[in-house]
Assembly symmetry: C2
Homo-oligomer: 378 residues x 2
Amino acid sequence: MSDRPTGGSSGVRTFRVECGEGSYPVHVGLGTFEALPDLVTGSVPAHRYAVLCDDNVDRILGARLVDGLRGMAAEVIRLTFPAGEASKNRHEWARLTDSLLDAGLARDGAVIALGGGVTGDLAGFVAATFMRGVPLVYVPTSLLAMVDASIGGKTGLDTTHGKNLVGAFHPPRMVVTDPRLAVTLSREQRAEGLVEAVKHGAILDDGYLTHIEENIEATLGADVDALGAAVEGSVAIKTRVVSQDEREQGLRSVLNFGHTLGHAIEAASDFGLSHGAAVALGMVLEARLGEHLGVTESGTGDRLAGIVRRLGMRDRLPEAVEPEAVVTFTGSDKKARRGAPRYVLLERLGAIAAGEGWVHPVPLDVVRTVLREHVEAD
Amino acid sequence: MSDRPTGGSSGVRTFRVECGEGSYPVHVGLGTFEALPDLVTGSVPAHRYAVLCDDNVDRILGARLVDGLRGMAAEVIRLTFPAGEASKNRHEWARLTDSLLDAGLARDGAVIALGGGVTGDLAGFVAATFMRGVPLVYVPTSLLAMVDASIGGKTGLDTTHGKNLVGAFHPPRMVVTDPRLAVTLSREQRAEGLVEAVKHGAILDDGYLTHIEENIEATLGADVDALGAAVEGSVAIKTRVVSQDEREQGLRSVLNFGHTLGHAIEAASDFGLSHGAAVALGMVLEARLGEHLGVTESGTGDRLAGIVRRLGMRDRLPEAVEPEAVVTFTGSDKKARRGAPRYVLLERLGAIAAGEGWVHPVPLDVVRTVLREHVEAD
């Protein structure tokens, strides 16, 4: 381990995210899950709490949280939905909202989102729109949600047109992150989370990237101190970026590094590649794009490719994914302006190339060329 | 006419509403509708504009606005929905959102809501949730929306459980209010709008209330100067209140005067009474409630009853509406806390009784008694 902050049992670190309505704390520490009923009832008082989680998380953690809250004499509503991205739709949102109305949740209630990114998006949108917004507490259970989705206040649903096309900014009142919950995840799920940690290092902190690289095996292997350090390091970076630019008018867009191609690859693979694997590959290919344009330091793509392979992921486009389909999907990206996809490009690892508000329009031909050069040869 | 500001053709008055994200202007003036394409393209630049209005408003004003915008070389999408509260539901929201996605609206688009309160709520919620929020311009066409719904950033949909149970705060970028549009409304529609103007005077400005009273016939009769003065006076009061308390944590709740009983009466009449008529009656009965409790100056209910009758509305509960049903509905009010309905009570006309954060819990028995004493004898 390097001298980075560790997530040892020594205590809880609290980061603050500035947002339009003030700020909210992100409490990170091993064992915070046990402290949750205390934290929630103390800091986010409500007449009733609605715990929303998917059926998998419910089996593992749902009863513990609900019992803990009831032990504090809180009234609790417990609602579940099927695990998986397919639940992130308007129908499930309407069903959960109606169930909360049936159960008597009112404006003086609060929602606790217990789960990964899908839960944060879905339960978050329920909270954002319930009687024009009730307080939200987010308890991320996946490593990916701990280092990424839990910070920033984005909520959303998918439609047949694409992902997150309906949604709202609804900053949580509090985020409670217990890296120990990542121990029970699969190695692959931890790898998914590490992709975003790698991204945080790649765009803003080469030292942190090196730390992640050195501890990759320990983190994938569920070493709690390594997990704690990765979560703390990424939360520190992401809270800093989001605090400076909640609504993604400028700096926040640097967090999209790897995501323009990542989203397009995910879609072009018909979601055969996981989100993490697609973003990992997207980072490698966007680094190569930057090198091709002469913006990014030579060798950057190779180093990222090495890290991505150690995460057990591909660094080249699978043969089954058509480069042309990827190019087409980049044009329908939510961040596209006037139809031209825009890319966050690295100057070198740990530093973003400034561009126009941190993004660079890149001609489709250049994208096409780079993609074709990096198709996997089986 | 008194010495209140007039809405004469002399010019446009601009009020500003402070909100979490900054502030937005409310431009009020005869003829601003003609200036709309200029105002919108100048102050809310967008790649594409989506004009959303109901089919009635579309026939009268839709083409004029769309042509005006296209005359400024703007790309315009025009979408309509059936007029009436029944359109304010999740299905219509999803249909409009999908139509905007089909038409290629992206994050760099903007929504123009052209219509009354239903349109503001529905199109506003579309804008609030489209790709986590796109800019909204609100152009109120009913007197009620001009003096009330257009200011404050509330958007929402109805569910089978009740009105506005799903929604979001999404402040418009700009409100453009042309009181001349109220000339083509029916006398009854103008009376609906005046109810909220009466409320503004009743809670915060006895002088304005007197002005409204003195000009009631001219305003109902569509005198443009009287309309302009009523709109300006109410916009001045509402923008001041909302600027102090956007999220209804305190002062903004005074705007609910007449609405706790009003909403319950509207529901108990199975929406046989219009919203305006129900709120008018609600104001009279809440004044009488305050008098019964010794909080409100004696005679207040009588003076409000006189004004309400001059608006062509009832000042007593129709025989067909069960007092007990009204009492039950007050318990399910969105603003109820721990099941106890809370009332905004007047101290006297032009002044609110402070209470706890401007609201008073009132025992159901007292409400029941006052309602029973004021049933219409046919």
